[in-house]
Amino acid sequence: MTRLAVHTRTTPAGPVVELTGELDYDSSSQVRDLLPALALQDGQQLVVDMTGVTFCDSSGITALLAARNHALAARAGIALAAVPDRVSRIFQMVGLDQVFPTHPTAQAAEAAWTPPATRP
């Protein structure tokens, strides 16, 4: 049995979900179950901080894609922060490096976020 710790914090740019542990079949539902409760505003950005992720398989990818769909449905963006090398290799293999913007740290992801222009 693998363990995944999920911690959520809120920033002006939007929620940051910090994952620590293995993101696999057993644990990915933790991330997916969390999504509906995430307060995500139009124009905000959901950041998934992957600093502590030691492994990510297809179920983990599914969870991240569900997060992406959730963000897009809320007209928000999604970005990954601190993707470990072995996980980023998997992302390259499945071609997701072109789908998820990535940043070296959660802070950098926040800094890269620009508040939405005032809508008419």
Partner: protein
């Protein structure tokens, strides 16, 4: 060590005089005598000599078993009351433990009644010692455990039922799995083909799939893929993927077009909070006529690269960079690569259950990995389809329970001309 019934008689407690009359009346109402309490207690009492001879036994226990006082006291041992199995246990465990610890509690045994029935009981014994610390006799309480036994029987029955259901589930899973794979691989003239499907868990259907089938004009289609997740939901996607690939290949055998079709179908079918996708390699095999061998064009949607094991003993990944997994993005990028398979060349397709396995020999649970597999392929080359698949099977066997996910392998090989095989 000869203490008899006399000593036990000395143990009788006499109801003491109470200081207040009310108290005495209250006490009398509760228990008129300790003797009566002993005889008619809701549990059995039994005292035996150190050799097991019954010295004293209460009415409750006599009634349970159907004996009279005279049948047992001084004539039989406690062991005589037990079933054969119980007697054995009493002699090998109960007795020695009691001698060692001076007390044994809560032991489940069965007593034989005179009518032949068996009474499940819980037995607690203590050794009574004299002033000099020498053991004198053994006191035993016997609790009726029929209710408890009934409960245990019920538990056992429920467990048996659950096991039967689990067997049934396994059978269903195995059947479902089989419908997702070709019963046997077709015979392609001029090609040696082998495949293997490794089931990681008999409780859950995996999402790996492969097939090899004829297309028009002497061409052949093959695919191998992996649907994310496991269980019935994944199996439904696997089934959809398989049939879509077969149908799409008939419509337009161009590998990138086939995967593009599958992408559209899956993307329409699954999105939102339950995205379903697969990684898949589709290959179009065409015999190369006069040149000999086959040309294969592989299209990959985010799948681990195939391994090409050449006749000259070299081996490498056949990369299809930039291909995206199938079913998530409205227009996934699909990468293709074309190679010529000459005599002695082997192409090996696999799913990531193999590279993501945790071999027992890897300390701290490290995964097997792509590099290790490439080294394995290099050691294997040159090879044949059946030898390559057999080697992967052996490799998976060495991983044992370290394989978390189902694994599919499919190998094709252009056999060397028979003359070359002769030394």
């Amino acid at each position: 060590m000869s203490t008899g019934g006399d000593s036990e008689n000395g143990e009788h407690r006499h109801p003491g005089k109470q200081p207040g009359e009310d108290h005495a009346a209250f006490s009398a109402l509760l228990e008129d005598s300790a003797e009566d309490l002993y005889e008619h207690a809701p549990c059995g009492y039994l005292s035996t000599l150190l050799d097991g001879t019954i010295a004293k036994i209460n009415k409750t226990l006599l009634d349970w078993l159907g004996y009279d006082h005279g049948d047992l006291v001084g004539r039989r041992t406690f062991s005589d009351l037990l079933t054969v199995g119980g007697r054995l246990y009493h002699e090998t465990h109960f007795g020695p433990l009691l001698r060692m610890q001076g007390e044994v509690s809560g032991i489940a045994l069965e007593l034989k009644a005179t009518d032949g029935s068996r009474l499940p009981v819980l037995v607690t014994s203590t050794v009574k010692t004299g002033g000099d610390g020498q053991p004198l006799l053994i006191r035993t309480t016997v609790f009726d455990a029929r209710d408890r036994r009934a409960y245990e029987t019920e538990l056992l029955r429920a467990r048996k039922e659950a096991e039967l259901e689990r067997e049934e589930l396994k059978r269903l899973n195995a059947t479902l799995q089989q419908t997702l794979l070709p019963p046997t691989l077709v015979n392609v003239p001029g090609l040696d083909v082998a495949a293997h499907y490794h089931v990681a868990s008999t409780d859950m259907v995996g999402g790996d799939f492969y097939d090899l089938f004829p297309l028009s004009a002497g061409a052949w289609g093959l695919f191998l893929g992996d649907v994310c997740g496991k269980g019935a939901a994944a199996a439904a996607v696997t089934s959809l993927a398989r049939y879509t690939l077969r149908a799409a290949a008939v419509y337009d055998p161009d590998p990138a077009a086939v995967l593009g079709n599958l992408n559209t179908v899956l993307n329409h079918e699954y999105n939102g909070h339950d995205p379903r996708f697969c990684t898949v390699v589709f290959g179009l095999l065409t015999p190369e006529g006069d040149r000999g061998g086959f040309r294969i064009t592989l299209a990959s949607g985010g799948h681990p690269p195939a391994l090409l094991l050449r006749a000259d003993g070299s081996a490498d990944h056949l990369h299809t960079p930039g291909g995206q997994l199938i079913g998530v993005l409205p227009d996934a990028h699909i990468a293709t690569a074309t190679v010529h398979l000459a005599a002695g060349d082997t192409l090996l397709l696999h799913t990531d259950g193999l590279t993501e396995a945790r071999p027992a020999r890897n300390s701290d649970g490290d995964r097997y990995g792509d590099e290790a597999l490439l080294d394995f392929a290099r050691a294997l080359a040159p090879t044949t389809a059946s030898a390559a698949v057999a080697a992967i099977r052996d490799l998976l066997d060495t991983f044992g329970t370290g394989v978390d996910d189902d694994t599919a392998v499919l190998a094709i090989n252009v056999p060397r001309p028979t003359s070359e095989e002769q030394p």
